[in-house]
Symmetry: D2
Subunit: 310 residues, 4 copies
């Protein structure tokens, strides 16, 4: 693992799995997304990981025009790095997933490193749903795997990586995903440093036990040596523990309402910024410094905020 | 890990990824499958893991009648345990995958514990293909993930496990698959002892590094304690090393032309039995005893050879 | 590892390796030791791990009368658990090491689980020494191993453990020390729960890399299952990182000027309490609760403050 | 770990812990030691790790003249590398331990990397002892640690390493010993490649569980990268399993009556060569090639058989 001396905070502002009925604080409209993103950046997030949602009912949307309603506003108010999902949401076509990133040409996008079962159907009966699509989304996760096949991964690397100079947050939900990053690195399609985002606790992926974190890191160390930077998070309750764990070994961290809706046991976070601030309290207590957006740009070799399409 | 004192040898006779153009020794017709299976049992395999193939061109087939052309013959000649795939082959529907097992009602079936990228497209240009379907199969693995979603897994557990008293070879291609086994165990759909089959080296799954074996075992130990038996294999060249590794820690082993076509570097195995015998040489050298079929039945809690549908 | 839900803070107030020339804040006289111990308890330490020193020049002393100058005072002012070293200091005879504990009959003593090289000679030329004995102590560590042989360990278990109902802080400086605890547990000389104190970063013992922490824990899990509680610390600079790490997995923690003289990089801690408070800031940020002395007594099965000899 | 493609077999012919009453096959006289060493070399050992014993009663002896009764004979009959102990035996003075190696100026000596408890007192009541010294040796191991302090290690590195061009078999009985090798490497006293000999199963050191082997290797990988070659063994019953394990990951192996008196469960080995041959059966079964003495010389950077003092 490349030691950088400072932790990069990514804030994943809204995602596409959590839904409006789960928390009134989940940002949904372009305005809400922009406001929470900006506040998260002010709280210390160097990278803003963003999805778009339909402002009407909050469902995930691939519409590039929605992205263009909040991206410029974010850019005006902060120098944080914009990172757009290519994972999209269940049911998105390949074109849907490419549309926003190709339009925005951001400094970074996420890149899921493997197909997998991605099960959150356990939530189906735990909420009063305002919208039918919400429960259907939950139930669908029992039947439909997340499709991040090799051909799509390669397409993203070529069109966004080579075509737009966009660099990636390699989302790895299991050990095998690290080997898939290695496969593409060996094939010459991607260049270091790799920002490996380890994700723990999705049903279908590697579990949120801290033992797994260390195994994950040791595997990445073996595969990539100093050619990668490690970030990680766990979904749901162990979120903050994993952030502390990754920061302890010198890694970076990702926080935000995409990953957990809570600020402490049973208590909803009222904003993304609140989670960022809580994380900063932990990092401060551990004497770990936080990277500014421009420090993160340098560490990650990004093309710069002037080279984006918004 | 439950220590059983003896290693159970599974032989995976033909599978559905290797194709006739890759090796003339790959059994394809019901006769060839029966003969190689019986010879493998005579060489020491307690479990025969079986797929059916179209006798015309060797392509994987879901046809239950094909199974019925070799299963009775195997049963007559050996007391080895029959284990039928539920993974089928790329392109099989859910019904295709269930057809053979439901017809045969075997003591065991395989059960893939998660959807994943399953990439062997690297082979597409390494052989002279006799049949068009062979190269298409290779290339398709770049685009189409293996679909083993939660709903299908549950269906297999209910229809075959509860309905037929069939027990499972839980095929785990990554750490997350262990958590999925745990999910279903916690839900009460399956009972110990669990035969966990760790599979290493598929592009898309956990890699064939021995460090991973130990991580895999430690995770399973943490999740299942003494409620599981461990078997494992790696595909391709590191096959025998992984078998030795798993046997060294007191585990069981799976060998066969489904997993590797070779007997040593660059040399094709001429039969499944040849691989079983090579494996036995290793086990003998390590003073590791091999379980008979009936010992394996007792260790695994199987319903017995009299209770199958063939 | 037994999960207890709360972290027990041990404060090791002065030890016998650090010396007065290294820090003016190191408590040396009975008064200083008592004051700092009491303040540490008020700051949240449930266990006070204590050594005595000669009030004249600060050198480690086995004199039981010195212990009796601060133990009663500590008992009057706090209900914290008193834990007396049996490791003593370089040059102490076996009788020296037993004298204080036998006189005080405390609820706990430390118990070093193995002989080892214990090298701090690197410090010999880094300070201006006020006393000759200080530099000699440093240099001696190159030549003289720490002697904690099996016979002495057994004697402590019999005379203090069985004779006085004293329970132990099992100081483990390497993986082999865990096996030595296991050896004595299997022999029936000690009973669970075992408070395993993992110590990282002594030259001669296991290094202060976080990877080692997880290996250490996994080994202890394998050897002791739920029969042990884990505490840990690292000496010197990585002190707080190891405390955070151990607390993250649900373990307990040890802090204090015996283990590190610093409060942050290059800055001396002005008291033991200051370190305890810094540690509490970390635990608070991680939402980890701290055990009271009486909660710790119950968790550890101690004989109680009324049953001591002071 | 440096991958060398071939396994180096070391045979530790007699040692100083096992005694004549334990096995009639333990070589004791110069003649017996020479004969068994030569036969072990013929069976495939590239390195002969040697101790001297008093021909009268078999007790370990530091007498250089005894070494000179078998070393020349071994040199005449084989080109195997001679490796002489610097660990000596319990009770040896520093001068005792240096005497043989300084006289013989061998290509290699062993070098114990840390003081430790080294307990084999459990054997005291398991044999009918012919000689009083045997039982005393066993019992003494409860009271007297093995003393391999930093000053002695440094002396050996300077006098033998720098003075005689002798290279070392770094005997590491626990994780901390790896850090001690690192300490001296960082200090510039020793140069790569380091032959790290991991020893598992001594009471007082790391236990003979295969999980520990992988932790040990991963730690060494982290500390030394490609600057070390790994060899390992376990004492007693798990001997062959550890040899297979180490060979599986591409490491080297050490066998011999010093490490285990048995050839299989309950059956004494009748010679060192018998153990070498059994090991070769395992290596052959695993398709692992064995290094010749000259290949081993090159891999280890030795001074050559012409540059020794016998
Ligand atoms: Zn996202
Ligand atoms: Zn199969
Ligand atoms: Zn102490
Ligand atoms: Zn030796």
């Amino acid at each position: 693992m490349r030691k950088t001396g400072k932790a990069i905070i990514t804030c994943a502002v809204t995602g596409s799995i959590h839904t409006p009925s789960m928390s009134p604080y989940l940002p949904v409209t372009p305005s809400e997304i922009a406001e929470q993103a900006i506040a998260a950046a002010e709280a210390g997030a160097a990278i803003l990981h963003l999805h778009a949602r339909d402002p009407e009912d909050g469902r995930p949307s691939p519409d590039p025009e929605l992205y263009m309603q909040f991206l410029p506003r974010i850019k005006q108010s902060t120098d944080a790095i914009v990172n757009i999902t290519t994972g999209g949401a269940p049911g998105f076509s390949e074109e849907d997933r490419m549309a926003g990133p190709l339009r925005a040409s951001p400094e970074m996008t996420s890149l899921n490193m493997g197909s997998m079962n991605f099960g959150f159907f356990g939530l189906a009966d735990k909420f009063d749903w305002k919208h039918d699509w919400e429960r259907e989304l939950m139930l669908g996760s029992k039947r439909f795997p997340a499709n991040h096949n090799f051909a799509l991964i390669e397409r993203i690397m070529v069109e966004l990586g080579q075509g737009h100079g966009t660099r990636f947050e390699y989302e790895c939900y299991d050990i095998g995903h690290l080997y898939t990053v290695k496969h593409f690195a060996d094939a010459g399609l991607i260049k270091p440093p790799f920002l490996i985002q380890g994700i723990f606790g999705i049903l279908g992926g590697i579990g949120a036990d801290l033992e797994n974190f260390m195994m994950f890191k040791q595997t990445a160390d073996r595969l990539f040596g100093d050619d990668y930077m490690l970030s990680c998070f766990a979904v749901g309750r162990p979120q903050m523990k994993f952030l502390a764990q990754c920061a302890l070994v010198g890694g970076s961290v990702r926080v935000g309402l995409e990953d957990s809706l809570y600020i402490s046991k049973g208590e909803l976070a009222t904003s993304n910024a609140q989670q960022v601030l809580k994380l900063r309290t932990i990092l401060d207590a551990l004497d770990i410094e936080v990277a500014t957006p421009n420090e993160a740009r340098e560490m990650l070799g990004l093309k710069g905020a002037d080279a984006v399409g918004f």
